[in-house]
Symmetry: D2
Subunit: 367 residues, 4 copies
């Protein structure tokens, strides 16, 4: 199913940006989990729009309502449905999108895909708004993974010309991840936040937008998760990441830098740290042959500059079948990178939960 | 199923590097396809080992035997099983791998994953040799896609310090793709082949290995293929690519370069070329919102330097639970990039066939 | 995913009998379908409780709210989410069910399955109430199938000792199916309705319940749908039917009667009716080798007597870990067969829609 | 994928009756299982043709070759591929089947399904011969389940007019199941074997065939396996059973008899047998709400009379598009019921293994 992700923990999302509501069905959650709803709300708030000058002016509290799957303060083990109402739509801003195709957006490809019947208002089902239920699901997955001492962190690695430093490849501390969650622009080098903000506001002042990089790290994963074909940990994570709007590249460990290096520079030597097996370096990002090796899993991905810009652009009008000029009305983000950070964390959490739950079925059968 | 890929065209692969045979089951192929077996053999030969000094000395003809699914010179529509016998194994070379974990390889992660019961000889099921059935499947998928005027090409974009030029983003010619298939080191700038060979042989002489980049392009894809969540075209392709051994990063269009650009530089303007919709640039690699827009789909991925190197390395001995020195015996490739090119083409072909077959079920239902 | 059914048309259901709401997400619906909502409401009403003395006294309008996937009076092709609020719960009636296990119900097996965290009120996610979203989905599927001249009918074949006659194996008329939808107890032999009602009211007066049979027929299916392994049309339909509460047996064509017959009595001879291929008899229920042969698909299934009866029963108390006597409070149906008829029709419609959408991907590829 | 069954233990089958070979890929087997190959061969022999006058004269040793997934006398945890060569084909007998459609067979429906390209010889992929790899897979699954004290038995409940007695609903002994495996016609009432043989030989002498019933029982299943929607244990088992050629009906517990009974007669009272929960009766066949309750799972299914009979039959010739008379040449079974018994056991074993492996992922997560 296109809108369902996961073999063991199944996440089904629905909704359009300007529809009645968006939401998700979480299937396969373990029974008996008591959820910290405040923590879920905090994650939702990190992604929510309208918080500052770097984000769209659309105001959405992203308040959610649990319809099923939670009883007597615990998960039931049956599907948990969450509904998030849309409130602050300005649909009139989007009338022209029915026939004027925004460059870089799914207006045209979506129109062809759905024979012209898709909801074009605010991008409809293609809208970044649909990531709200994903953040909800990821926040719950994170709480389940935390019981297994698995935790996930992410930060902005770059916005435009401003780069942050990398996570320590062999592992940061969970407490650092908590601090990052508090930052409007989560970075490791505090001096970079103001510079990144400047990049964003400059792009905004130019009626333009700017892209960036997000780096993530997963701590506490046991060795032996994943499969060689066709469900490597990289395959599963990238599958999920590339369904996040604006992601155009995903890499693990040293990623593309490996192209210009030698094996002796990339191979991570194993050693016994007491009885625990570790590697002295982590160029491979904690994954060998698609399977975790017990080291932190490191990845980074690129978020393209927001396609919605106020500058006049050339495009087509599908009504007149003629070329035309477009000035996009409506409210949009000059940079989506900072709001994408909690989305990437959530996407990671759900995928890892699915892999983790699946892993329980193997082993333990030998003579 | 971990070893089955595809919703409509299901590819199941099996086998270990030093086992009796490797192979695949191709399920969901359309009935009535007459296959050009010579063309399939040519693709297999491009990947086959032992062809020159840049490749492992292992000699495998990769002759295949069709067990089912092909009758009266046409596909039956029922599962097509292919078997490829292993011949030139030197398993004794690999005895030490049972307990000495090669850095950068799946020896350790695989040992944990399979509780120590996996076939460690030559990497077992993790071996690059398992890509032979993938090339077979891709060669058949390519022939089916060719009937729909969809064709796929790839070249080496970089080996070590030597870079080739990029494909023209708005589309190369199918004939160029055919020429590339004839080259030992497929490149666009012919002057680079010799330099790349030098990079490889230098690494080899240093008992080391070197990595690289592969760029691919898909021509003739109709607009409207793919889905926003969770099966974007990028999601499906990256899922497959990251199951190819040594792939550590995947990007579409301008990929990671987008991080330091503005929306006005990345958005691709639409225009009518007669009645056909095209974009003047193709920074987004032919995909908007996870769905094809009718332009060529462009991607590139990184192949890490071969993990097997002859240099002495530090690692662990799981028998003694002690650190040790390892010198890898056996035959290996100083660079796997050139042999990975047909694998990437095949992986692309099978994934696109699956997406294409699935797309037939939509549309045509409206009032 | 356990709560998602379908490869091409994916139905995900959620909710508990006494939770806030129940509902479904319909994924993969063709875009551009204009839905007749009155027809959907009529189907919902057929299943709804509290309509007469033969049904539970629980009053539920089963009004539904569309949250997504429907725009400008057409399906968008993206997920359609429907929500049905629960209103008339008497949860206090069910307090004892937390620890007193109703015989014939899922109270005990569900408690073990979900480690005691499942919502036990009114059967929770196991409740027949969860079939309301299924009827909703089936009503939409039926409208899509009607465009392809595929229609589905069902009637009560037996309640207790009272049997109706069978559908004509080679096909009834669609208009008959419409008439059946109007009947409280849909039967072919009108004289049997009153007798069946008597069976039900007698069982009720005895604080007991009674079971029955439902027979269904699918008209207009083209030949060539389905697959030999493992997705025969019988496999797909039975998979769905056995997820309907109280179904304990499913058969196609002559079903179990075939055990005592000879091949010459069961084989259906083919003939050309003009150019159309038909069979003179239809003992095989329109399916040969798991694939439709163009004749009507006939099936019947058994609905066990409602497990909830008012008679005192022996059972266990999981709190005291002791045997005990149970008298079930709350409102229940003395017979569920008549309310199951629209559920079986809906289950058939969704499954056939999924098979039908999938079938579009084959053929048309030959030389 | 149509030819792959299972979420956790994936079985992919391939091959045609008169092709080069048939076989299967078993994916997801736990690593470290040492297989008793003689026991596997014995199961294969029970199904193999040509053993006596009641079976087809086709001689097939059904010798198998393991291509992958088994190393150092243990499963590796990676895909196990088995190949079974076809030897004794008389394909000439089947030339007429290309255009003369056998009543009751998939010749016509399959021809439409695969646009006329399917291998028609001996039924091709529709042949009962394709159940040989299923028996192989089931034999391995049985050995894994035996470690969990889960065992499966089956017997002939009826052939034509001759009925055997039922299994004791609350459980037979595993040793009885072993005895049944030794019998040519496995029955509980020894006096019935000769009478059943007479039914078969009489049908054969009349150039006809006869059907029957098979009853199965699963011992040792823990309570709590399965799911309410859409993967009830009945749903999973029936899905598999209905892909076995000739199965036209499947029922659990009292099955269709429930239609004419009252709830008080069908509900199974729970009691504590020491601390173990059991039911005093087992009308529900060990499944409540789609989930096992810890009692034996009982089911029965109908095998239709073999469609291949020597009597002259009316059918169509798709070459001439005219009606014609058909006398089937080739070798066939006057009754397939006895050979289907090990197939049903195998189908049960693989399905239960899949459910069992999947169940490991739930629970254990609560506070």
């Amino acid at each position: 199913m296109n809108n369902t992700f996961g073999y063991h923990a199944g996440l089904t999302i629905f909704g359009e940006s300007h529809g009645k509501a968006i939401g998700a069905v979480l299937d396969g959650l373990p029974a008996g989990i008591s959820i910290d709803w405040d923590a879920v709300r905090q994650e939702m708030a990190r992604r929510a729009p309208g918080r500052n000058a770097m984000s769209t002016a659309r105001q959405e509290a992203d308040a959610f309502e649990i319809e099923s799957g939670y009883f007597n303060d615990h998960t039931t083990g049956t599907p948990l449905c969450v509904l998030i109402r849309n409130n602050d739509q300005h649909s009139r801003d989007y009338d022209q999108l029915r026939h004027m195709m925004r460059p870089g957006h799914a207006d045209y490809s979506g129109k062809v895909r759905y024979d012209g019947y898709n909801d074009y208002r605010g991008g409809g089902h293609f809208s970044g708004r649909i990531t709200a239920p994903l953040v909800f699901a990821g926040a719950i997955a994170s709480q389940i993974l935390a019981r297994e001492s698995i935790c996930i962190g992410a930060h902005i690695l770059r916005i435009g010309q401003v780069a942050d430093r990398h996570f320590a490849p062999c592992g940061e501390s969970p407490s650092l991840f908590q601090q990052l969650k508090q930052q409007t622009l989560p970075v490791l080098d505090g001096t970079k936040a103001a510079l990144m903000e400047q990049e964003i506001l400059t792009a905004k002042s130019q009626l333009d937008s700017v892209g960036g990089l997000i780096e993530g790290q997963i701590l506490g994963l046991p060795a032996g998760l994943g499969d060689p074909f066709f469900d490597s940990v990289e395959s599963r994570l990238s599958h999920m990441f590339f369904s996040i709007p604006a992601v155009k590249g995903v890499a693990f460990g040293d990623g593309f830098d490996m192209a210009s290096h030698h094996g002796s520079e990339i191979n991570d030597s194993f050693y016994y740290d007491g009885t625990v097996v570790r590697t002295r370096t982590n160029h491979n990002g904690g994954i060998n042959g698609g399977i975790t090796n017990g080291m932190p899993v490191n990845f980074h991905l690129v978020i393209k500059p927001t396609a919605s810009i106020s500058k006049e652009q050339d495009t087509i009008d599908t009504d007149t079948q003629a070329d035309c000029k477009l000035v996009i009305k409506g409210r949009h983000d000059p940079c989506i990178v900072q709001r994408a950070v909690p989305v990437v964390e959530a996407a990671t959490a759900w995928t890892i939960l699915d892999i983790f739950l699946g892993s329980r079925k193997t082993g333990g059968a030998h003579d």
